[in-house]
């Protein structure tokens, strides 16, 4: 490793061609920059994501126990998780959870809630219209746009397949 590293930094300094030098430098930087342990990160994400989803299942069961139907119980659960994520964002806990859990906090609906709540808090100072109004979806915007767009595309495919009597 040390030999390889030494080798690549001399490739950077001795290279006259700028494009090649930049390639060598990028390669060298990749080697010397510390990275997260993928296995550890995945395990943490699995744990945190799993716990969030288990809590969600508890809510569903509880709402069903209170008499809600399957669909309504799921909707109530979504609303509850979003509310909790926004609350935890507001009191500054969600960020700490996300630092540990990574994608485990990003993928469930709670991650989406956090990504909407955080800009709302931050940009409130810039006003209701140009602050919150314009900037609330700066992080979640792509999810909303491409989520709606891809469901439209899938709907269109489904419609055509139906016309062709394939499905």
């Amino acid at each position: 490793m040390s030999n390889q590293k030494k080798g690549s930094v001399s490739n950077v300094v001795s290279e006259q061609d700028t494009k090649k030098r930049n390639e060598n430098y990028n390669q060298y930087v990749k080697e010397v920059t510390p990275k997260f342990s993928m296995a550890k990160n995945m395990l943490q994400a699995f744990l945190v994501g799993g716990i969030i989803c288990t809590i969600g299942q508890c809510f569903i069961n509880y709402y069903k126990y209170l008499g809600a139907g399957e669909d309504m119980a799921k909707s109530y659960n979504t609303v509850t998780l979003v509310f909790l994520a926004v609350l935890f964002t507001g009191v500054g806990v969600y960020q700490k959870l996300a630092k540990f859990g990574g994608a485990g906090t990003l993928v469930p609906i709670t991650g989406f809630a956090n990504s909407v709540a955080a800009p709302a808090v931050e940009y409130k100072k810039e006003g209701q219209i140009f602050g919150i109004g314009c900037k609330i979806f700066t992080i979640a915007g792509p999810v909303i746009l491409y989520g709606i767009f891809s469901s439209w595309v899938l709907g269109l495919i489904y419609y055509i397949l139906k016309l062709l009597k394939i499905v």
């Binding site: 060298y28 930087v29 920059t33 510390p34 996300a98």
Partner: protein, 349 residues
């Protein structure tokens, strides 16, 4: 070693200057945030602000207040009034220099606003020293600031957004540092004088790195280029300095800088120091690659580095704040992260 050129020219080599009457640094001020106050240099700062908002409504107002306090503290320590300062040279990281414009407006000092990203302190001190040595001013103030939350908002994500920062990412320092540069030595002080002997102004250096979360690696080539140029212009080697102090390369950038210079047969590993590494405690403060931001090198210089020079622990240092010249727009448009580093040669008399 190179001396001033013929006909009294102050130009040395390609990019450097030796001042004819090296100006004095007669006062400094360092205002730091809570996290910086809890770091290894906490006790050296003039003031540690425990409230990240400084009693204001927005991060921008808070940073403006930091800068105002730094300017006022520097004036107070020098026993000067605002009208004694001929020029103020300053800048910050917030869009169109918000902290500088709003922070020091009420001081009513003629101002040159500058942008050098996190290298701003080096740029401000360079211009300030040139103005004084050139006879265009007798006293100037170089000032800069940064704020963790304001910088996160501007360059990354809103503060409450939950995500993981890579190990190569740095932590923007909340703080403002100022120095007063004067033609004359502070007569009232018994401390040894500290002079700005010369400067080496950096070029924009871009080795094609696109990762904005690895700014140390983006800036290291700029620091390398400026240091090498300084050695060549002055005809010296690392032994000329007691310390070579970079601004905010962090752990990743520091190693790269040392590696790059070693390839040119310059070994600075024993005398190199990085303000970003010194300002936080790596083990306890979870700052990953170290501190960054204009305030990082500025408050380290205004407190720790000047103290070492006044105590003559170090006789001569090369102070070299480093900057990453990126914006969110250039990053989104797929551009690289160019680096810059401005060197100031500071000596104890």
């Amino acid at each position: 070693m190179a001396e001033n050129g013929a006909n009294g020219s102050k130009m040395v080599g390609k990019q450097s200057i030796f001042f004819k009457d090296p100006p004095y640094i007669v006062a400094s001020a360092s205002i730091a945030g809570k996290k910086e106050g809890e770091g290894p240099m906490g006790s050296l700062f003039d003031l540690v602000q425990m409230d990240p908002m400084l009693g204001k409504n927005t991060w921008e107002e808070a940073e403006s207040e930091l800068m105002k306090e730094a300017a006022q503290t520097a004036l107070q320590k020098a026993g000067l009034k605002n009208t004694d300062i001929r020029y103020l040279i300053g800048g910050d990281l917030l869009g169109q220099l918000i902290a500088t414009s709003f922070g020091i407006a009420e001081l009513e000092i003629p101002i040159l606003g500058i942008y050098g990203a996190c290298s701003t302190m080096g740029e401000a001190m360079s211009i300030g020293a040139m103005l004084v040595d050139g006879g265009y001013a007798d006293k100037v103030m170089a000032i800069t600031s940064s704020h963790f939350a304001g910088a996160e908002k501007q360059f990354r994500f809103p503060l409450d957004y939950g995500n993981q920062r890579p190990y190569s990412a740095s932590w923007t320092v909340t703080g403002s540092g100022a120095v007063i540069i004067s033609k004359q030595k502070n007569q009232n002080s018994s401390e040894p004088g500290v002079i700005i002997k010369g400067i080496t102004t950096g070029k924009i250096v871009d080795y094609g790195l696109k990762d904005s979360m690895n700014m140390g690696a983006a800036m290291a080539p700029a620091a390398y280029d400026t240091i090498k140029q300084n050695f060549q212009d002055l005809g010296v080697d690392p032994n000329y300095y007691d310390k070579i102090i970079t601004g905010d390369l962090g752990y990743v950038g520091k190693n790269i800088l040392i590696d790059l210079l070693k390839e040119n047969n310059y070994d600075i590993s024993n005398i190199h120091m990085d303000c970003g590494i010194e300002i936080f405690n790596e083990d306890d403060q979870d700052t990953h690659s170290g501190g960054s931001g204009c305030g990082c090198s500025a408050i380290t210089f205004a407190s720790y580095i000047l103290k070492q020079l006044k105590e003559r622990s170090w006789k001569r240092v090369l102070f070299l704040p480093t900057g990453a010249l990126l914006s969110q727009v250039s990053f989104n448009e797929g551009k690289t992260v160019p680096g810059i580093a401005h060197a100031v040669i500071v000596e104890a008399e």
